[in-house]
């Protein structure tokens, strides 16, 4: 049952099958999470920079009850041109082992290579650096674009907990 759902998903969104792209990045965001909203300009910047280099991007909204129209509106409001998808049953969440928004998951040829924070700007809830000092997602993407395949690793992202579906 689970495998079937994922198979359907992979056809629909193309995240697990390789279509010649170097990698796929899932960006988990929530429409009402202030921290993930504050990352919108940075995520869009990464998209503009790395999508022409062969990296696929997808915004994933894992919040229960969000409508397609509300998602599109939010994405427009925050200036996203990254394609977006609802994840009402947390299939993407499960596949990426995502825990909070904002969080990034990088797949290379369908295999999870990185999951965690975009950068280290937020140290804790309410505790942010003026400027990030580590840029984990960008480092990952730039390594992939230069032909390396980094081993799987993960970091802890700070943000809004992806709520369990019960």
């Amino acid at each position: 049952m689970f495998a079937l759902a994922l198979a359907a998903l992979s056809q629909q969104a193309g995240i697990l099958a390789s279509h010649g792209e170097k990698a796929t990045v899932l960006l988990f965001i929530r429409s009402d999470c202030p921290i993930s909203n504050r990352y919108a300009p940075e995520l869009e910047r990464l998209y503009k920079k790395y999508s022409p280099l062969g990296i696929d991007f997808l915004l994933v909204y894992p919040e229960a009850g969000l409508t397609e129209a509300a998602m599109k509106q939010h994405s427009r409001d925050y200036g996203y041109s990254i394609p977006s998808v609802l994840d009402p049953h947390h299939e993407y969440v499960a596949r990426a082992k995502a825990r909070v928004t904002p969080e990034a998951a990088v797949f290379i040829h369908g295999e999870l290579a990185y999951v965690g924070r975009i950068d280290d700007r937020y140290v804790d809830l309410g505790k942010a650096r003026a400027q990030p000092s580590q840029h984990e997602l960008e480092d990952e993407l730039s390594a992939i674009c230069s032909g390396r395949v980094p081993p799987f690793h993960e970091t802890r992202s700070v943000g809004c907990v992806i709520e369990d579906l019960k």
Binding site: R38, R129, Q131, S133
Partner: protein, 629 residues
């Protein structure tokens, strides 16, 4: 084996059933919903069962770490009104509820829905002012600290009992301070960097030069603020010709946001009868924090010359600040804590009002201690790698302030606020021996008390520090004039006007000094210059009239007295001089009326009485002469 089994059993024992309606709603209604409801600044509503359930894991995460509800003061170090701190029992209740699967419960258990007023919290304000130009908060980047000038158009002085800020429906305004600029000096900085307003985390204004009425109210706004009118008798003065400076902390939220806050005033019909005062503990001059220093401390203290009730406290530091403590040491050595914040976060800075005023006797010493972490281990450090940090109003600078709003008790004939001001300024001189402001203010205090010699000494010391300060030159000249040292006053006033040709107060004093010194032509010129800029000043009109009168230029003097009498109908001297001029022109009826007016205002006005008698006699003589024989 048996023990282990029992332990397992106890782990599995469910706690008492916890439901939203019975147990959780009373907590979320009181602690979450005031900010988390539609139209408020928090990012999502937490009002209904569905709202709370859909954020349950997040609620656990933020409440357990005490990130929410935001309440930085440590318990037991000051008892504050509107405390938003969850008890350990409440935290356990929330955790148990989530563990039990978040049951909703019985609707009959649900407390009444909290009532939130949309729009102005106290109904339509008596006066609404709006930021003249909107400002766009960019989508990305660091926090923005900006000041906006908002002119207030009033015809007469009003007394304010409440102020409400409506930041606009966005959530980018993190907190706000409203500063009253009675001198309208700060508007010169508006637009200095090509955008509306001017940058800076903190603003200070000069008091009005003529009245000792220090700003004594915190006009602070933070999300979720409940609008509290000033206590009875504690309204504050808002004069015509005032600017408000709106000091905003703005946080980019991922998309550009246009803001144009409005401020509503609620007036009181009664002037204040209670006069609080703001006392500042600070030592920014000692802020010289080496990079890497994790434990740099700044302290200050102030011995109270009078007994006070402490009403509220406002601690303030920037990003390198780590811990803020303030307390009072009573004359018997007892320590009374006023506040303690262990994990200072400028994002949640606030004014804290004591649930009950904290009484402190004369002789108690207020103290503050602020600890800074300027290492890279402090993630909030705005500089990476850390740099040497000094006092200043940029976000890479630091501050260390504790402001206290106190209500001083009157225990002698003297205004206790003056005694407090004196103590503050003397303390300031200890901290900053070459300080302009302390010398200047001590001079003003001496002058206010009639100690002109003392005032002259302090003003001269202030001018040694800031020779180009026109205000101090003018005050020194005013002190000289009180001593009748006109020859000393005139060059000071001329210098003040050279520094600031638009300084009306100095121009008026110069005209007076020249007139008193026997230079009527020059005096008349200065009065005329003054009146070009401020036609409706009755004292200047009368002053110019008096100079012309002394020069026997009666026809020129008359219109100025007429104007002065119109602007200030309750001045017996003006009426008397007007009457005299009218009499000289032969208008005995008009003259009689003016003298009668003067005597109505001041029945003991001897000149008016004598003039009236002469005018009546002349009138009688005219009537006699006009009678046919």
């Amino acid at each position: 084996m048996k023990c282990a089994w029992l332990a397992l059993l106890s782990l599995r024992l469910p706690g008492p059933p916890v439901t939203f309606d019975k147990d959780i709603a009373p907590i979320t209604y009181q602690y979450c919903a005031p900010c988390h409801h539609a139209g408020e600044v928090a990012p999502f509503p937490l009002l209904t069962y569905r709202d709370v359930r859909s954020h349950a894991a997040q609620i656990i995460a933020v409440t357990q770490r005490r990130y929410m509800p935001p309440w930085p003061p440590e318990p037991g170090y000051g008892d504050f009104a509107g405390e938003r701190r969850l008890t350990e029992a409440q935290l356990r209740l929330i955790a148990d509820w989530v563990k039990q699967g978040m049951p909703e419960g019985k609707p009959s258990d649900l407390p009444p829905n909290p009532h939130f007023t949309a729009g102005w919290q106290m109904g339509a304000p008596d006066l609404i002012v709006k930021m003249p130009q909107p400002y766009t908060v960019p989508a990305a980047g660091g926090d923005v600290f900006r000041n906006f000038v908002i002119p207030v158009d009033l015809k007469e002085t009003k007394y304010v009992r409440a102020v409400e800020l409506r930041p606009g429906n966005t959530g980018v305004v993190h907190h706000a301070n409203i500063v009253v600029d009675r001198t309208r000096r700060l508007r010169q900085r508006d637009g200095e960097d090509g955008q509306s307003g001017f940058p800076g985390m903190d603003v200070t204004t000069e008091g009005s030069p003529d009245v000792f009425d220090p700003d004594s109210h915190f006009l602070f706004w933070k999300p979720g603020s409940v609008l509290e009118p000033e206590p009875e008798g504690m309204s504050w003065r808002l004069d015509p010709g005032t600017d408000l400076i709106l000091n905003l902390h703005l946080q980019p939220k991922g998309k550009p946001e246009l803001i144009q806050p409005t401020i509503g005033f609620y007036f009181s019909s009664r002037p204040p009868t209670l006069f609080p005062m703001l006392l500042q503990l600070e030592h920014d001059g000692a802020l010289d924090i080496p990079p890497g220093d994790r434990n740099f401390q700044v302290t200050d203290e102030l011995k109270l010359p009078v007994a006070v009730d402490v009403l509220a406290i406002y601690p303030h530091a920037h990003y390198v600040g780590k811990q803020i403590e303030a307390w009072a040491t009573l004359p018997d050595g007892t320590r009374r804590w006023l506040i303690k914040i262990n994990d200072w976060d400028i994002n949640w800075q606030a004014v804290y009002t004591y649930r009950h005023p904290v009484p402190l006797p004369a002789g108690a010493t207020l103290a503050m201690r602020i600890t800074y972490d300027n290492s890279s281990a402090n993630p909030r450090n705005p500089s990476n790698p850390p740099i040497r940090v000094h006092g200043g109003d940029r976000s890479i600078d630091e501050m260390g302030h504790v402001w206290l709003q106190v209500l001083p008790k009157k225990e002698s004939h003297e205004d206790p606020r003056l005694l407090l001001q004196e103590a503050l300024m003397r303390r300031r001189l200890e901290k900053y021996p070459g300080d302009f402001l302390a010398h200047y203010n001590l001079g003003a205090l001496c002058q206010f008390r009639g100690d002109t010699r003392g005032a002259i000494t302090y003003y001269q010391q202030a001018l040694q520090v800031q020779p180009q300060n026109a205000t101090a030159r003018n005050s020194l000249a005013a002190a000289f004039m009180t001593e009748n040292r006109l020859g000393d006053a005139i060059p000071e006033l001329q210098e003040a006007l050279r520094i600031d040709p638009a300084y009306l107060n100095a121009r008026y004093n110069l005209a007076r000094a020249l007139a008193a010194n026997g230079n009527p032509d020059e005096a008349a010129r200065e009065y005329a210059e003054f009146l070009k800029q401020k036609t409706d000043d009755p004292d200047a009109q009368a002053g110019l009239g008096t100079v012309l009168l002394a020069e026997h230029r009666y026809d020129e003097a008359l219109p100025h007295f007429r104007e002065a009498a119109r602007l200030k109908p309750d001045d017996a001297d003006i009426q008397t001089n007007l009457g005299a001029l009218l009499a000289m022109r032969g208008d005995l009826i008009g003259a009689t009326q003016a003298f009668e007016n003067a005597l109505r205002i001041n029945p003991d006005h001897q000149t008016a009485r004598a003039n009236l008698a002469r005018a009546r006699a002349s009138l009688a003589a005219q009537r006699d002469a006009a009678k046919p024989n």
